[in-house]
């Protein structure tokens, strides 16, 4: 991606109950690549118990789509953890 075009950015910071769960979320979410890698850059990291998702994007519409999409996925991950972590 051209540096000069990186006009929009966004950082999501989502706390998890433990670093274990934050790391699981990171691993799960990293598998699916962004569809338009030429227009949006997405980096998912973990800092202690927080899941950090950083976006850089040349097009604000695509940024909105990317952020909405990852939020849907994060909600699904959290719902699954909530329902099945520690299930015997």
């Amino acid at each position: 991606m051209n540096e000069a075009n990186e006009v929009h950015s966004m950082i999501l910071n989502i706390p998890f109950p433990s670093s274990r769960l934050a790391n699981i979320a990171q691993k799960v979410l990293k598998v699916d690549k962004e569809l338009k890698t030429d227009q949006v850059e997405r980096i998912i990291t973990v800092e202690e118990v927080n899941l950090i998702v950083k976006f850089k994007c040349s097009n604000i519409k695509i940024l909105r789509i990317s952020v909405n999409s990852i939020l849907d996925m994060i909600i699904m991950v959290i719902k699954t953890m909530d329902a099945f972590d520690g299930t015997e």
């Binding site: 699981i24 799960v28 953890m81 329902a83 099945f84």
Partner: protein
């Protein structure tokens, strides 16, 4: 060994739990739960809404499957999910859940080809050993035969799937999508008696349906309002034409291979008229037709669990980083390690 399978490539969300017993070589279906995204008459299902449906119902459907199967998490050996083919957003929504479960429970994950799931489940349920497979659903139309560790595609649709043709005609007639558009067409067809000639488009081993759909749409718009023909007649004529084409290419595949068994899988496979027409052809060749009912024909989680477990037993697992989804994933891309070469 026990596997849980998650399926969500189209509008059905399915979770199945299956047990393979090594010693007796028996397969037990422990749970097979499905929840369908049904849209109002005249409309189809869209990727975004279907994905939202799957996300809403994934947790309760998995819970119900675990409860029905009465298995403990520690008894489950692997988690299987549909990698493709199918609609991207719904596939990914379900894969996310599968990956999360894999890491939470520390179980291996197995990516499964949806078509292989249908074929293997059909073989298991019916006991068909080495059949010609007619795979007919809303997204796929293929005639398949096994050879040298692959399911080879002998013939397929050149444009839309046969189920898509039926679904879209149901939409034109505003038939309900509950329980499925194809089922409602089948019921209408039973009351039709006037056969209206439609294009018949078999091209070698392949078939084409989009022209038939355009043609019947025009006929329905022009002739139903003036009372010349009824919706029932058109449903009847459409089914007869489409199924005759499918029977023809299946018969040709049988002649090629020298096989006497036909297995029908996929959502359209539970249409009794298709089974009956196939039966008539196969009888003349002294063969046998194998088909299943809606529990196993229509998309379900159990077939994903079953096909995944077959692969897992040969030592196959999918690294988490590679547990992606793909909208296009041909049946013959998968190496069938669990069957002998011939």
């Amino acid at each position: 060994m026990i596997a849980i399978g998650l399926e969500g490539s189209a509008n059905k969300l399915g979770v199945g739990i299956i047990e393979h017993n090594y010693d007796s070589n028996k397969v037990n279906v422990l749970a097979n739960i499905r929840h369908t995204h049904v849209t109002p008459p005249g409309t189809g299902f869209l990727p975004k809404d279907t994905a939202a449906h799957h996300r809403e119902f994934a947790i309760p459907v998995i819970r119900e499957a675990l409860k029905t199967a009465n298995v403990k998490v520690k008894e489950i050996d692997c988690i299987c999910y549909t990698k493709g083919p199918g609609m991207g957003a719904p596939l990914v929504s379900v894969a996310i859940v599968a990956r999360t479960l894999s890491l939470l429970w520390d179980k291996p994950i197995i990516a499964v080809n949806h078509c292989i799931g249908h074929i293997e489940m059909g073989r298991e349920i019916t006991g068909a050993n080495n059949p010609i497979v007619l795979y007919v659903s809303g997204g796929n139309t293929q005639v398949i035969a096994y050879s040298e560790n692959r399911y080879r595609i002998f013939g397929e649709t050149l444009d839309i799937a046969v189920g898509n043709c039926l679904d879209r005609f149901a939409r034109i007639l505003k038939l309900p999508n509950d329980p499925s558009p194809g089922y409602n067409i089948e019921q209408f067809a039973k009351r039709g008696n006037k056969f209206i000639e439609l294009p018949y488009t078999v091209k070698g081993m392949d078939v084409s349906f989009s022209g038939i759909l355009s043609n019947i749409e025009t006929i329905s718009i022009e002739q139903i309002p003036i009372g010349q023909i009824t919706s029932e007649d058109l449903c009847f004529s459409l089914q007869e034409t489409l199924f005759a084409m499918l029977v023809e290419i299946t018969e040709r595949a049988m002649a090629h291979i020298g096989s006497r068994e036909v297995l029908i899988v996929g959502g359209v496979g539970c249409n009794l008229r298709l089974q009956e027409m196939m039966q008539k052809m196969v009888e003349q060749r002294n063969g046998k037709v194998f088909a299943t009912d809606e529990r196993f024909c229509i998309d379900n989680g159990i077939m994903i669990a079953h096909a995944g477990l077959l692969a897992f037993r040969t030592g196959y697992t999918t690294p988490l980083e590679e547990s992606t989804c793909t909208q296009r994933f041909r049946t013959d891309e998968v190496y069938i390690s669990w069957r002998k070469a011939n």
